[in-house]
Amino acid sequence: MRIAFLALSTKARRRIEVHAAAAAADGHDTEVYVHGVDRWADAVFPAEVRVRHIAADFKPRGEGRLSRLFVRRLPLGLLRRLGRGPLRRPCKRLAGAWKFHVVKKADARRKRENARVRRETIDAELVRVLAEHAPDRLVLVDGGSTAVAARVLPQCPPSVRDVEIMYGYEDFKEPLHA
């Protein structure tokens, strides 16, 4: 039987390691989908378990040159130069207000945008690997992976869309039937 663990985050890492190893030991063709190469570097899986790094190439977009110049460097540099003598305090206050109202918001906007692109990249890649592996069982491991499955499965081909879902692979009293 083909079993895929939708892990992504490391929150339930120990459980995923143990359950995936148990599935593989029972002779199932086992894949684990993870995200974040560094975060999963210490994970221990037996050789029979295939670990697929989802969206491994994704790199968050940094601050653009124009934005860095007009949002950060020019205004804050100008206030730093002006802020001498009697203008020190008002310029410091103004710089603080600028950081709070403009810089912080721009950073938050970029962070949101990066999160959206990351999510879309992960989803698209998951749709592809699920279609390719066509698992008989999809194991969800935490609330996050349940939310991802709810987003991704409707985008999958019909054969994958109705995959049987499990919430772990343990020492079941009844054997798992295909």
Partner: protein, 402 residues
């Protein structure tokens, strides 16, 4: 009228050991291990909280997927004493509202059961606001529902008006309610005096299988089995230990348990010059605790608050004297045996009382103590056999213990 099959029991719990946290809810597992022999069937439903989202309600599409998948995925896993374990992931929003958590626990257990009630005529839930509510909402008509409260976070639950209302309902509707210590019973009696008669005490089982071959010759190897958290006051323990060690450089202290304060406590031990005598052993599987106890001479419990203080009984089972604070549980457990078991001290804002307690105990040890007598008294109350009989009497009526 009870459903048929009178010795079938369903246990509903938010905590049960799994591969991720092997010691979470170990006491529930121990109760199952103790009480399942003598029952026709015991099914454990582990309602495992899975937070979803960033604070709002669980998104509709996520709930829909879970609703569809959960009943089909419910599968019995082997656990202790041939009981059946069912893992039920409970999707909960990331909110601190316990009434919302209660509703989600009830909802997802119902979904897992395919909308049908629990079949067992006896249902025993652990933790009132979550599993207790889920048990009452899913028990078959006529089933007896028992609830045991262990939660040290109960005051936070009862502070919330909606959660308090749920809790009041749990107390009103359950057959009997058990508190694992006086602090919990006192809180409930204060809020619901009309239900005081329903609230009783039931023990967690402790293994009396292993013990030290010989009583300790001197009380030099101190042991603490507690999370490294503020409530456990390990800083007081380290300070008191450092003072006592000035008089006896053969003293050692082993800290079993982990937590957010590990780094600061390691720094404190170094600052007090006792780093080489204090071992931070980390978390230990509960099944290995008796063996750890056997390698030490004295258990010290420095907590500010404990609902029961299971480690005190575990230490006595292993043949160790104890120094413990009167923090709620230990004084009840050791009532009538205080001097024979070791020293009890008040919870104070200074490590001084711990130092005095150790010096007093060290002076009168081994005379003036009768750890063997206390051990026997504890065995009669907390051994697996005793706890099993207590549960069978509660579940199936007087004279029902097999």
């Amino acid at each position: 009228m009870r459903p048929s099959g009178s010795r079938r029991v369903a246990v509903i719990t938010p905590w049960y050991p799994d591969a991720q946290v092997p010691y979470k809810g170990a006491f529930v597992q121990a109760k199952v291990e103790a009480a399942a022999p003598g029952c026709d069937e015991v099914s454990v439903y582990h309602l495992d909280g899975w937070p979803v989202g960033r604070g709002g309600p669980v998104p509709e599409e996520v709930s829909a997927l879970h609703e569809r998948a959960l009943p089909r995925s419910l599968r019995a896993v082997r656990t202790v004493a041939d009981a059946s374990l069912y893992r039920v992931p409970v999707l909960v929003p990331r909110v601190g509202d316990w009434a919302v958590h209660a509703e989600h626990h009830a909802r997802w257990l119902r979904a897992a059961l395919g909308g049908r009630p629990l079949e067992a005529p006896v249902v025993h839930a652990h933790v009132g606001v979550t599993a207790g509510w889920a048990a009452l909402e899913n028990a078959a008509p006529g089933a007896d529902v028992f609830v045991t409260e262990h939660a040290s976070f109960l005051p936070a639950v009862l502070e919330q008006p909606a959660a308090r209302e749920v809790y009041g309902e749990v107390l009103r509707r359950c057959t009997r309610f058990f508190a694992v210590g006086d602090p919990i019973r006192d809180q409930l009696a204060e809020l619901w005096p009309e239900h005081t008669g329903k609230v009783d005490y039931i023990a967690n089982p402790i293994s009396f299988a292993g013990r030290r071959a010989e009583p300790p010759a001197r009380l030099r190897k101190w042991l603490s089995v507690a999370a490294l958290s503020e409530r456990k006051r390990i800083d007081f323990l380290i300070r008191a230990f450092a003072v006592c060690r000035r008089d006896d450089d053969e003293l050692t202290l082993t800290l079993v348990g982990d937590g957010a304060l590990r780094r600061p406590l390691e720094s404190l031990a170094a600052e007090l010059g006792v780093a080489d005598a204090v071992e931070f052993a980390g978390a230990v599987d509960p099944r290995d605790i008796p063996a750890v106890m056997e390698r030490h001479d004295l258990l010290v419990l420095s907590s500010a608050k404990e609902t029961f203080g299971v480690v005190v009984v575990e230490a006595l089972a292993a043949g160790l004297p104890v120094i413990a604070t009167r923090c709620g549980g230990p004084e009840r457990v050791l009532a009538g045996h205080e001097d024979d078991a070791g020293q009890l001290i008040d919870v104070e804002d200074s490590p001084e009382s711990l130092v005095i307690a150790y010096k007093t105990l060290d002076e009168r040890y081994p005379h003036g103590l009768d750890v063997e007598r206390v051990r026997e008294a504890m065995r009669r109350r907390y051994s697996y056999e005793a706890v099993a009989q207590a549960h069978h009497r509660v579940w199936f009526g007087e004279g029902a213990a097999r």
